[in-house]
Subunit: 329 residues, 6 copies
């Protein structure tokens, strides 16, 4: 299994009792089971159980397994579109090796794995973990693109995550500032779109910094008023403008706490989960989208894996979007 | 109490502390208390604590009692319409005798009880239990209608429940295929309408079977886009077309998991509970509607009986619809 | 600390670990920390941990602390409006001294504290406790207005709370009838607006009493159909008509149980929390609004303080409304 | 039903699904079902859902129903002794009418009901509710005994409950001081035995008051060292010395929090539930024991009714003790 | 993998993230990972996710996975004895194929799998599932022993499980009567020992039946008084007397509800978990012991897998006992 | 407040509603309230909300606040000994400043604070956080003792915590090996006693390392057999032998999971909490004991703060031991 060794991953394991349900049904969890080969893969689900930068409430290290457990409850078929996405070749290729107490080494392994995947034309679908991992993920995509290339980013979150540092140290609130500061400006402010900022969840300083950098912010209130479809349309246009690839980062706390209670900062004025599902399906279909992450699912604060299921639904919608690209079919 | 013996039911019990609240208030639980006589009843609430066909997660055998507990928190008065439904004669007449380990015998008792009620012009309002009971319920209605009669069915669910079998055995996923296969075609595909199918919750095979049979499917996404009112209008028209009676079957998992977490397959892209309440009120008012069930409420997976309350609200809206029929007033 | 003694309050305490987060961020909890002086305050958050009149399910005595705990998770900045409310001088000045077993004495202390605040031009933002406290709160505002003045009231609730008594005794269901019966008619029925009445949650008698008294009732169903903005517009016009001040009382159970499960009577057909947030922001901006309460948050029935967070979001939106008044800026 | 009216009780209701289990098994809940007649009863279970004096955490109003629910899971047969207690005539005769906001009236109804029972030679087994009800319960027994009679009391608790008042008002911490102060000294300090006082749960003032009054205190630590059997032996001797009857009052918080988590003040150094079960069985067999209460079970703080089951086990052991008296067999 | 096919099992799956912890530590979950071969195995862990005979509360179908999850938290080393059991060859070989709705077929597969294992000299360690599976398990051992052989059984439980039937059908309360009635009397009453019968948890009829059949009953109270060591000594002597093999069946509800809350019938007067651990270690060391099951762990009623961990500890102690047999070392 | 600045702590805050209860009662939380001066203090409670080295399950950063919340439910009076410990001068002086993402800096601040306290003759009572903090705590005590001095350590835990590293990085499993490796051998193996090692919770390698180093191990099983009193006697003798001071470190997971469920590794064969309480009281009275920590309380995995209360009880018993030293009285 040389490819496996190359990526330096831990196997995801077979979730217990995978054979529940009729074999003909294509359970999403079974569909995502990996045969150990990267050739031909269009998308790779990858767990990143790192929550070492959660400075308030943690537990997102258990997020990847919660999403995996939930996958066995779903199929690959969209009733709304009358189509299954089984033609898309996607697989759960395991976990990046994480040491909660060695952030630098962990981040290097994350970037290396993601760069390997993107270079092979595989869209990484990373499940965190806390939001700090967005930085090594974006860095990995940038490494794969190579020098002189440009990246757009669409970021769903209740928070800007543009802090400089937390008490002089790393935190889950810094990844997008660090991405804006990547060498040679691979990500410019005008190609970063942030959707879902909640009321009383951010500081004027960070909003000001976003404005100064030319970042486009679409607060949750605006999504409620104008609809998610127009927000997505606007975001894709901005993120694609002059860039070679688009990266998507989704913090589960952009969703209302009634639908995503299991997270560090539950959101009492969040987006409707069904709107975010629709958004990700549209986004996945865009040809420039080259990477995706879903972070901050924290099972210890959850009720009966509700938020794990919410996360699995987001991932499936994104994959369905991928499956509708001409190349994927 | 010969009527009681005839139906072969277990008494529902008086829920503890029924007298909470002012006596003048007509708590729904008190209003539904039975005097032991069937004459003059318009609707009969009946518990069916059977979850023996739940092949994944169970607990719906506790569903009827959860709905009953919740009834004491509600009245019979609609603030929106400024009318109470106390003129409607409805009662909780108890539980069908269930043996989890004897499905055939249990199903026979269910069909017999429902047929008795329908023959007397009483609308059975059955609280499950898992969805397998929809088959004996529909069979009971068909028996009451008699030979040559036709039935329409409106089915709210995240799933088609059109499986042939599960590992060669019974399951909660088969009732509507079994109903379509009832002798002499009492239920034709073109009179079956399924509302609320969720994304990644069904298989293309079953969707194909539904299409082949002429079943009308209104996925949850379509309800979100076009509104519940138009979905209900369309469903009633189809179910009433050439039929003698309409049966309604509601799987609580059609509702979003934030509003109905206590169920076997919580739904992360479900319908809004308030839309389903409105739908059942409209449907209850239709003169052909002759039977109703609400299934898959599973208290062990619930939080503080939230889903039991959601179920009670559905039942009350359906009964309110019944109460607005000319005959009922 | 003479002011403190005058109000006869218990200190709120500093919530543990107040310094979490960057100091520059203006956490709402820190912003609300009191320096012990009333001069210059525009709004005072005050806890009223009394649930002695909850005749069904209790626990709202823990409500004030749940809202306080949640405040540390929020800032003072609205992403939607691009403005912080730090110019508004607001503080958490502590708890009224409560003896669950001495309702009369407790109510006198509540009225005295509220009257003191209103006389000084401070808007009291009271966190209950059960809804019985609305009566001494309104009485305190009336005392501050003085003889011959008139009050309007906007009341968000699933229930009318217009009962005469419960088994011949006090309860959380009586405050608004008692307010309508205050001497010299300080509150007339035509200046009382009730928003959010739920289906099957009230009695025809109380609805009839409301109609007889000229009270305006906007049921939850109407808010769903016509929108919250128009409901608020209508309510403000009615409550301001011929009155000297408007009082706002919010029972958390007006909100859907999926977003506010921790309460005595969770509501399966409630308002959307985000609509109520918008409503309170508009209302807080009205120049006549002179007092506010938020009641019935019951942490023992909650999941991970979800309802405490929902309450904090409501309070922050109301304060943000206050901060947009010309005088406040 | 004149007897019923005389006692002024609310019916307990039949717990739902009483027929679960084989009919021949004598489920405790069925055995306790009342036929409406007091003649021939040896013991009467009675609910007192009053928690209006809980000044810290409440919810014990739900205690009686939690114990009732649990009763259906038990039989009347002791495996250890090879004997069923079905010969004992015992019944659940319902709830005292409680108004949380009218303590005096509620306490009068409690005393009246208990006096009626004791006068008829029926041992009342009262399920609270908070501990404040011990005072009207003891007062009712004293009324039944009549002038000049003397009472002994054995009190299991983590706390002395000998406070004078709480903020000048009633609380659940006062009943035994009020009992010691009953007119004509029906309860003398030397006939009061308190078992189970926990570490760091009481004040030196109250311990001093107990000592001054001649009360015997057996702390939990002493029970652990010397065994429950010797504590019970000593308590019965002291409580019977010169008295006409013995009353038993059990606060569930005497038991370790691992076995009784659902209570206002969970106890991290409590008694072993199995020791308390043995103690109550021995005590019930004593011919002078004329009344019993079990208080402070608070379901909202419980996990899956564990504490309700713990309470049912205590009641059954006490009843089994009663059944072993020569008269009872 | 012919052996696999022979047993007709579903693979257990690799539990996710098996590599947590230092590789040198021999996590129990890793130690139990199967290489697909039966040769040389001394013990085989086998899941039986069947709860179709639970007539009251279910969920034990999730029991095997809860025990498996917990295994990753344990090692193979006894600190008390200073020895690891890694020399014992044991493996988790997967789940029997279960159809909740086809009890007869499921039971046949259970017996066949167990007989295959016992014939090869492998001790089956079965994790249920509800207690009904004890019958096909014992039947399978009997089939392996062959005609004319005799079996002893030690049964830990709060209940006799000697019912004839439940409402004329199968239930989890019948397995030991069915075992006593196996053809040719492979299990005689005098070789059946039942340990842990709880108070008010059984009927006199079943106790009488046990006595009539010569079954030895050691109630929980006797274990508390005389100690578990003597109970085990007595049980082994009786079960071994004249028999060819001993079978062990453990219902988790024999343990106190504070230590095993996640079960259908939590036990408020149960055995101490640590005593049962010691007992199983002693029993596992007995050379005649040829099979073991652990049943009735029900995760939906559990708190954070506490009961799953309790179960894993029981299994490990039994295996440790096995490992101390001369042959095993 | 120079002393405060010197220690570099964050204030603990006043826990909300400190005045609950009668003022004369000396609630433990009020008793521990600090006046800001170190002079005259005998013991200082200090929070260390660091869980950055928890490599499996985290949440112990919330441990200090859970213990603080619980303190308001307790007094300072021992019913068993008839004495209050109010003469002991103890205070909660706040939290060490923690950055989860900067372990080295955090550990330096911990050691510095502890050294300052010990130099002043104040016994630090540290509440974690995860067990990794034991190393900087012991290092701080060693720094205060000065060169050439010797330390004994008594360590309660289910685990040895003698790992070298976890995946090449820090973890909560390493502190005691790091302590044994402190320069100049301040802690010798023969002065380290480990109490409570659980079955199947450790590796033979670490047990072997402990033996090689001369560490004394008293497994939980031995405590059950021989009693806690003799274990404590033996431990104190060994830890005091040739040393200048004794340090105590308590991992809450030494206690059975039924009494301490809220922790990273709940223990199904743990010590009885009441035994550990007794042990710490005895140990606190020993004149050489100079420091104490309590770690691994993880509120997110807890039920209603049960484990926080268990921790508060341990701390109070240790302080009570301190208060019985001649110097302290
Ligand atoms: Ca984020
Ligand atoms: Ca966020
Ligand atoms: Ca269904
Ligand atoms: Ca369904
Ligand atoms: Ca209200
Ligand atoms: Ca209300
Ligand atoms: Ca008490
Ligand atoms: Ca108490
Ligand atoms: Ca059992
Ligand atoms: Ca059993
Ligand atoms: Ca440790
Ligand atoms: Ca440990």
């Amino acid at each position: 299994m040389p490819e496996f060794a190359d990526l330096n991953l831990l196997p995801p394991g077979i979730v217990v009792n995978t054979m529940k349900g009729d074999p003909g049904e294509h359970r999403a969890g079974s569909w995502l089971q990996w045969d150990g080969r990267l050739d031909g893969l269009s998308a790779a689900l990858i767990g990143i159980p790192f929550d070492g930068a959660s400075v308030v409430r943690t537990g997102s290290r258990h997020g990847p397994d919660a999403v995996r457990r939930s996958m066995m409850y779903y199929t690959t078929f969209s009733s709304a579109e009358g189509r299954a996405m089984t033609d898309l070749r996607a697989a759960d290729i395991g976990d990046v090796q994480v040491a909660v107490t060695d952030m630098a080494g962990t981040f290097d392994r994350i970037s290396a794995a993601i760069a390997t995947l993107v270079r092979r034309g595989i869209v990484p679908v990373s499940i965190g973990g806390d939001h700090s991992i967005a930085f090594p993920l974006i860095r990995g995509v940038a490494q794969a693109l190579g020098p002189g290339r440009r990246l757009g980013v669409i970021h769903f979150d209740a928070h800007h995550d543009l802090r400089q540092a937390h008490l002089g140290a790393e935190s889950s609130g810094v990844p997008f500032r660090k991405a804006l500061e990547l060498p040679s400006g691979v990500l410019a402010g005008r190609n970063l779109v942030q959707i879902g900022m909640a009321e009383f969840a951010n500081s004027p300083q960070l909003a000001g910094y976003a404005a100064d950098m030319g970042v486009t912010v679409i607060p949750a209130g605006e999504v409620r008023r104008s609809g998610m479809a127009s927000a997505v349309q606007r975001a894709l246009t901005l993120a694609a403008d002059g860039t070679d690839a688009i990266y998507i980062s989704v913090d589960i706390d952009c969703i209302d706490q009634s639908q995503a209670p299991g997270t560090a900062a539950p959101n009492p004025s969040g987006l409707d989960a069904r709107d975010v599902q629709d958004a990700l399906r549209r986004i996945g279909a865009h040809p420039k989208v080259a990477g995706f992450d879903l972070v901050e699912i924290s099972p210890p604060f959850d009720h009966d894996d509700m938020t794990g299921r919410a996360g699995a639904a987001l991932v499936l919608n994104f994959l369905f979007g991928l499956s509708s690209r001409p190349a994927a079919r």
